[in-house]
Symmetry: D2
Subunit: 352 residues, 4 copies
């Protein structure tokens, strides 16, 4: 229902009094019965070729540990003050050889996808080795720090639910007591040994609301994806798998679910539209996406956002199969019946 009122006379004084009383006339509020969601965010690609140099420049601007806990550049949706979408924020983070990023913990959740170099993230005492393509979790209120003993810079993609958590007035955070880095109380990659292969420790002690796995290694994930793709007959529309919490079959963290998809060289995906937003990061190959009718090119290590309720489809360039990682805020929609999804062969031409 848009405002159907016929202004018989001037009510401006009345509306002034409403405003003073901190009430608004429902029939004057725009979009009260809008048939579809308002699209107030835009698609955008953050290109590694453009942002990586800015990240390296940041080394001169900020000392890790002294000046800041983290050296990270967060992607802001061009139509937002903060946040890559209304719920998610993505960005690149850089740690140089020999540097450490001190421990802290907070209610927002984070996923990390290693892009270049290798090093360790320690999560609640477990040192997790990060190698290219690995998905590493630092779930809500887990202590985490980063350390880098290697010899080439380490860059990863960060994904967090900060816009949602702060919007809910539910951000709490703590610095690690006394010292910069946590004690290493667990063996390296122990969570992968415990929960990483379709079996779990017979003594079931896990009670937290996120995955007990602190890492989903790329080697395993990609192999799994390609085997699935093969078993489905290598569909030209590509194949996608979801990373799951082995204890529940649910998302890796309560607010974010992650996917890995393959699109063979020279092929295109089906078209999708859904209320949740999604951030994609290119792990292999290059190509472009059509989002609400516009073309967005991408290549290795770029990431891009598809906001809520935008139609999109992916095209892989000739020459190399594309592997896309993605994260979605879908778990925020499901408990409330707010998930709507549509698919089509191709992005519809006209108005969306």
């Amino acid at each position: 229902m848009e405002n159907r009122m016929t202004e018989k006379k001037d009510h401006s004084e009345y509306f002034e009094r409403l405003k003073a009383a901190h009430v608004a006339a429902l029939w004057t509020i725009p979009g009260t019965l809008a048939e579809e969601p308002t699209l107030d965010e835009v698609p955008h690609v953050w290109k590694a070729k453009e942002i990586f140099p800015l990240l390296h420049e940041a080394v001169d601007v900020v000392d890790l540990g002294d000046d800041a806990d983290r050296r990270a550049l967060n992607a802001s949706n061009p139509k937002r003050v903060f946040g890559t979408s209304h719920n998610l924020v993505a960005g690149y983070q850089l740690v140089l050889p020999g540097e450490t990023a001190p421990a802290h913990r907070h209610t927002p959740s984070a996923i990390r996808l290693l892009l270049e170099g290798s090093g360790h993230t320690t999560v609640d005492g477990e040192p997790v080795l990060m190698e290219p393509g690995d998905l590493v979790l630092t779930p809500p209120m887990t202590w985490h720090d980063h350390r880098h003993e290697g010899d080439t810079p380490m860059i990863w993609l960060d994904g967090l639910d900060v816009p949602f958590v702060r919007g809910q007035h539910a951000q709490f955070a703590e610095e690690y007591p006394n010292e910069a880095l946590q004690d290493l109380t667990e063996a390296e990659d122990v969570s992968v040994a415990r929960y990483g292969a379709g079996m779990i420790p017979a003594e079931r002690t896990w009670t937290k609301n996120h995955s007990p796995l602190n890492k989903y290694p790329y080697k395993t994930s990609k192999e799994s994806l390609l085997r699935f793709h093969e078993s489905e007959g290598r569909p030209s529309t590509g194949s996608s798998m979801e990373y799951v919490n082995p204890i529940t079959g649910g998302p890796v963290i309560p607010t974010i679910t992650c996917f890995l998809s393959v699109q063979e060289a020279g092929t295109k995906s089906r078209a999708y539209r859904h209320t949740p937003s999604k951030v994609f990061c290119v792990l292999e190959g290059s190509g472009y996406s059509i989002i609400n009718g516009e073309r967005y090119d991408w290549e290795k290590h770029d990431f891009f956002v598809v906001p809520s309720w935008h139609w999109y489809e992916h095209h892989a360039n000739e020459g190399e199969d594309a592997v896309l990682f993605s994260m979605s805020d879908r778990p925020i929609y499901e408990p409330f019946g707010l998930l709507r999804e549509q698919t089509a062969d191709a992005v519809p031409a006209a108005k969306n």
Copy 2:
């Protein structure tokens, strides 16, 4: 972690380039490691004595059905453009004898608490008689209209999750096809007959994610509350009960849970603080609340908001026991581990 960077030299040109690239340096974003939520909403009381006259004035401003679907005044938090809190919007709505408010449906959920007069809300074909104190639900995507054959004006409290649903880009709505009001396809108050007494139809057919009860009559609810209060030994801190979905024991609608509380004349409640926000409406009695150290007076039919993470306690005046209805967005917090709650004997004096 607030910005601990020592500005060795002028990096303003660098930050300009970041901005142009749609990225923000994490170490410059305020509140990145804020230990507690930012309190950017304020408590406020909307007084029936002040707002009811404005609502009656609206009769001259807007014709129900012709000019607008609904004649309602929505409470805007003094620190927000829209919304009584970040997730909820409350307000008063008026229907005059003989008027009808045409049918529509939408993804936002609504609860109604009748304050004056009586009439019918039809929910998916079931005419629900509304009398003072009755809680009536119009859950997500249920067709609902209002009709009033009585002889005195009918005013109720509306409570909706519009700020949350629109913030999630998940508002969808529809006008009822062809005609203004729905057909009555069910007996009056049939849902109360089916699900309203601790038993349910032996053929379990309910699959929706909200309560099958379209009404929680005040007669039953208040009697239940007083019996509970009595059985607990009439604590001076008062007693509270939660309205539940009889199929799940969960909240009445997916995003909002409702309570009814009694505070005996001359007594005060304990103090509470929690991440969810809460809107209270006074059904009986009068008194005041201390919210983060400030006093807010209220009387019959007033409503007031306690934003996220504000300490509060209620005092009932001498002379009459106070009965408070309240609604909370707590169900939005629970699936994500974002619920934090504290209690104390009294609202702490100092900084909160």
Copy 3:
């Protein structure tokens, strides 16, 4: 697959050796691929007119408290050594004015349906007043005793899951330490005050796997049933409601779910068949049931068993509406996908 083997020669010596080795040849085991369940229990009616006098005679045989904890007669299915069905045992229990039955607790669950007189069952410190038609629970491992200060004998129907629990080797029991009766630590019927009216205490503290309600009063249950029956247009096939745990919408105890049904005078129900077994007790009226083609007459306070996978339908005699209470072991079937149900207008004539 029944044994399709053609006995080419005599293998009896071979089968002897198998037996000695404690193995059985699968192809000789009867019913290995039976298409439908074997019906090795029979329907039966226990008549109050016959059993009540036997129960009163028991007063001379056994002293309550001195000779035995309980004075109860358990119904044994004519085709079983123990148990009214394979999972359930029903029976009558008698307590005289002035008598007490000492406290104990055990892993088997019990439901009680009061038939004559009135008195108290204490459940975990809460004295529960029992009046005719009231359903009272003594869930697993709750301390319970019975006391009777009235002036007429008190008789109730017992229903327990002893055959299931003992079959699972999971019976554990304890006598109450030191004294015959528990201390009364709660107000009378406090659980009804707390959980009995569609609302629950706002501080959610209940974590057990059975209903927090220790009583479902007949007054409320029957009123609810009749109101539902009325709202459905008083179907000639009758109406049924299920007693539910208000915290979960599930059964009142983990292994047993209970129903209350009305069949108007001179009408008959639809026909049903299901893998779970069911025990019915007549609270009002008289009539008969057709079970797998046979007629079984019943009147007030009789109870009868319908074993697994038997077709049945109920007929109420002219003159008075029939009200039937029933209990089912259906919750034992549901977690394992073993529930099968069929309905028909009438019990099929031929082979079942």
Copy 4:
């Protein structure tokens, strides 16, 4: 409460009348208030060296396909007519090169653990390659047949819940229509490709109540177990992992959960006692178990039963690490609060 009645006079005629009325006096029923479960089953080892030859002899007794659907020897607990325990039945099954076992399906669930040779089990159209140590599922009501194109006999361990399902009068079965073997409608091991590596297909279509994985390959399972054992510091008490449904983190089928355990050469496990029963099968190594004070020796491919509520511990012989597969009916206990478990350093000496 055992019978505490003092028989003042002869009531035998009274008890005769009770019997005729199909009721039993509760105070005369043995074990009514037994403090602990009655142990009416015994431990037993079925030795491959003894049973495999009997199985090969069966080739002369029964023709697969002509005489019988399956050539299997089922282990009967020495104290039972049917069933290895009260809920489970285990046994060996033999298929010769060139033989096929025709398709059928039934409500009882089965697990298969391949011991010798290799071949295929087809499950709902998917040919599953079975190699030594592989756990293969044929869940409730899935069509399954076995075929063997190799050149050495194939023997596996069967594990089913037939005693439970038949005890619940819930066995239903069907022969495959028209033909002996199913059509192969899926690629070989497609379920492993889809669900076998911690990720699942992004289009979530699985709705059944058992694992979507038709195979847990031994290669993966053993590697996972050894990696976990290593990460725990190779405890001398051994390590155990549970096979899980990747969609729920629950058991592989609704009634049975499976484990794989390693006990290093020359070490012993802790002692356990629990209400569920358990069947162990030796995949590697040799040793013995102490069960309620008695010693039971075992070697490769033997299986043995530990009935409900018996204390047990395992000892691995010197020379080779022992790997034990096991299956438990624990999922039948959990929904009803009937699971009780105890652990100790060693099996208690005295009465249990």
